[in-house]
C-alpha cells in the first residue's frame, strides 16, 4: 500500500486516483485496512474499486486453480460482502453483470452444458444460452431462451476447463493444444 502511494506521488497522480490506491482494501463496515475507514469516509471511486478488486481476486487468484466462476464470485461477494461493500454499488454491479454473466459456462437442470449468451434483464435467472448437443453441428447450435423453455433452468455454473473435451470444443472453440499436461487455450509464443 505504502509502495503504491509512493509510486502515485512520483507519477504525479491526482488526489482522487491516489485516494483509490490508499483505500481500495478498506471495507464499508470499517473492517478493512490500512486505516479501517468505513464507507462514509471512502471516496466513491475507492468504494467501486474495492468491490471490483475483490471480484477480480476471486475470479483470478494468484493460484489460478482456486479461481471461482464469475457466478460463484458474485454469489460469494453478495453472501459475505453485504456489510463489506457499499450496498448500492454492489447492487448496481450485480445488475450490470447479471446473475449468470454472459460467457459463463453452465450446466442445465437436464444435465446439458451451455454457454450464457445474453442476460434477460426482466428475468435474470432465465438468460439465453447456447446448448451443447453432439447431434447438432456447432454452426447450427441450439440457442435457447430459458424464459420460454418450460421446466428448464440453470443448475450450476462451472469452469470451462471442467467441461468434457467434446463440450469444451463445442462451447468454447479455440485452437487448443490437446497433448500438453497443462492445457493451453492457444499456441503461445515460447
Amino acid at each position: 500500500m505504502e509502495t503504491g502511494l509512493v509510486q502515485a506521488k512520483k507519477m504525479g497522480l491526482s488526489a482522487g486516483a491516489t485516494a483509490v490506491i490508499a483505500q481500495h482494501h478498506e471495507h464499508a463496515d470499517g473492517s478493512g485496512f490500512p486505516a479501517g475507514l468505513n464507507s462514509d469516509r471512502m471516496t466513491m471511486a475507492a468504494r467501486i474499486v474495492a468491490l471490483v478488486n475483490r471480484y477480480d481476486n476471486l475470479c483470478n487468484p494468484r493460484l489460478p486453480a482456486r479461481a471461482l466462476t464469475p457466478h460463484e464470485a458474485l454469489s460469494l461477494l453478495f453472501a459475505q460482502g453485504r456489510s463489506k461493500f457499499d450496498t448500492s454499488i454492489l447492487g448496481a454491479f450485480i445488475k450490470m453483470m447479471g446473475v449468470y454473466p454472459p460467457g459463463s459456462t453452465v450446466q442445465l437442470t437436464d444435465d446439458r452444458y451451455a454457454t450464457v449468451l445474453a442476460v434477460n434483464s426482466s428475468r435474470p435467472l432465465k438468460p439465453s444460452v447456447l446448448v451443447h448437443d453432439p447431434a447438432i453441428p456447432r454452426e447450427e447450435a441450439l440457442v435457447l431462451d430459458l424464459e420460454s423453455a418450460v421446466g428448464l433452468g440453470i443448475r450450476r455454473s462451472i469452469k470451462a476447463q471442467q467441461l468434457p473435451p467434446t463440450a469444451l470444443d463445442y462451447l468454447a472453440p479455440s485452437p487448443r493444444i490437446a497433448y500438453f499436461f497443462e492445457p493451453a487455450a492457444a499456441l503461445e509464443a515460447e
Binding site: 493460484l63 482456486r66 454469489s75 453472501a79 459475505q80 437442470t109 500438453f180 497443462e182 499456441l187
Partner: protein, 261 residues
C-alpha cells in the same frame, strides 16, 4: 365415500405448524417450509438450523428475501412474490451469521397439500466438503501439471496401447513439432515426425519395438538427430500403485552434442 375430506387452508396452515415440524425433523436434508403470502418460514428442522448457524426455532418467521444470500436466491424469491417462478434447483450459497458463506445445493418446490393451499419447501444440502475437495483437487492437479511443464526434460507419456497421453512443451520444442501437429490429436503424425528426425531411423525403430515388447523395461539410450544433436532418452514404465498403466519417456539434449555444421 369418494369425496375428499374437507380441508380448509387454515387447518392446513395449522397442520403445517403443529404436525409438519415432526415430519421434517425426521429428514436428513435441511428443510424449511415457507408460506406463500409473506414468504416467511413457518417450520424449519434441526439440520436447517445447523446449516444456517441459528437455532431452528429462530428461523421461524424469517423472511426469505432477507435470508437470500446470493443474487440468484434474491431474484428467485422476488419472482415467487411476482408469481413468475415457483421452483428452482441449483448450486448456491447460504450465509451464516457474520456473512460466513456455505456452499449448498438448494431446491425450492411448490406444493399444494390441499386444494387452494400452497407451501414452498426449501431443501438444502451442504456442499462444503465437495466444494473444498474439488478446489483442493484442482490445486493439486494444477501443481502437477505445472511441475511436468517446468521440468527441463522433454516428457512424453504413452498408454499401454502406445497412444500418446500427454507431452510437455519442452518435448514439443526439443522435437521441433509443428504447430499443426500440436492442435490435432494425431499420434501417428507425431511418431512419424520423430522417426524422420533421427539420423538412423531403422535402429531407432528396432529399439522402440524392443521397449514396446517389455512393459516393465527401464532403459537409457542415445541417438543422433539428423540436425546433429545428440539426444538421450530414458524410459520407464508408468505405474499407478505398482500396476503399469503406460510408459514415460524423458528426452534430453546432451551437452556433448557435436557442433552443428
Amino acid at each position: 365415500m369418494n369425496n375428499p375430506l374437507p380441508v380448509d387452508r387454515f387447518s392446513v396452515a395449522d397442520a403445517a405448524r403443529r404436525t409438519w415440524p415432526h415430519l421434517i425433523e425426521s429428514m436428513l436434508e435441511a428443510i424449511c417450509l415457507i408460506e406463500p403470502e409473506g414468504l416467511r418460514i413457518v417450520a424449519a428442522n434441526g439440520p436447517a438450523g445447523r446449516l444456517l448457524g441459528v437455532p431452528a426455532a429462530e428461523l421461524v418467521g424469517r423472511d426469505m428475501h432477507e435470508l437470500a444470500a446470493t443474487p440468484e436466491d434474491e431474484c428467485f424469491w422476488r419472482e415467487v412474490a411476482e408469481n413468475t417462478s415457483a421452483c428452482i434447483v441449483s448450486d448456491s450459497f447460504v450465509a451464516r451469521p457474520g456473512g460466513i458463506p456455505v456452499p449448498v445445493t438448494r431446491r425450492v418446490s411448490r406444493i399444494e397439500p390441499a386444494p387452494g393451499t400452497v407451501l414452498y419447501v426449501l431443501a438444502l444440502l451442504d456442499r462444503s466438503a465437495e466444494f473444498e475437495a474439488g478446489r483442493s483437487a484442482d490445486v493439486v492437479k494444477a501443481e502437477l501439471q505445472a511441475t511436468l511443464e517446468s521440468v527441463s526434460d522433454g516428457v512424453l507419456v504413452t498408454d499401454l496401447a502406445g497412444h500418446i497421453s500427454h507431452f510437455n512443451r519442452r518435448f514439443a520444442t526439443l522435437w521441433d513439432l509443428a504447430d499443426e501437429m500440436l492442435l490435432l490429436r494425431a499420434d501417428d503424425e507425431v511418431f512419424d515426425w520423430m522417426r524422420l528426425q533421427v539420423a538412423e531411423p531403422r535402429a531407432y525403430m528396432i529399439r522402440l519395438a524392443e521397449i514396446d515388447a517389455e512393459t516393465m523395461l527401464e532403459a537409457t539410450d542415445r541417438f543422433l538427430l539428423r540436425s546433429g544433436r545428440l539426444i538421450e532418452r530414458t524410459t520407464a514404465p508408468q505405474c499407478s500403485r505398482g500396476v503399469p498403466i503406460g510408459r514415460v519417456f524423458c528426452f534430453r539434449e546432451r551437452p556433448d552434442t557435436p557442433p552443428r555444421t
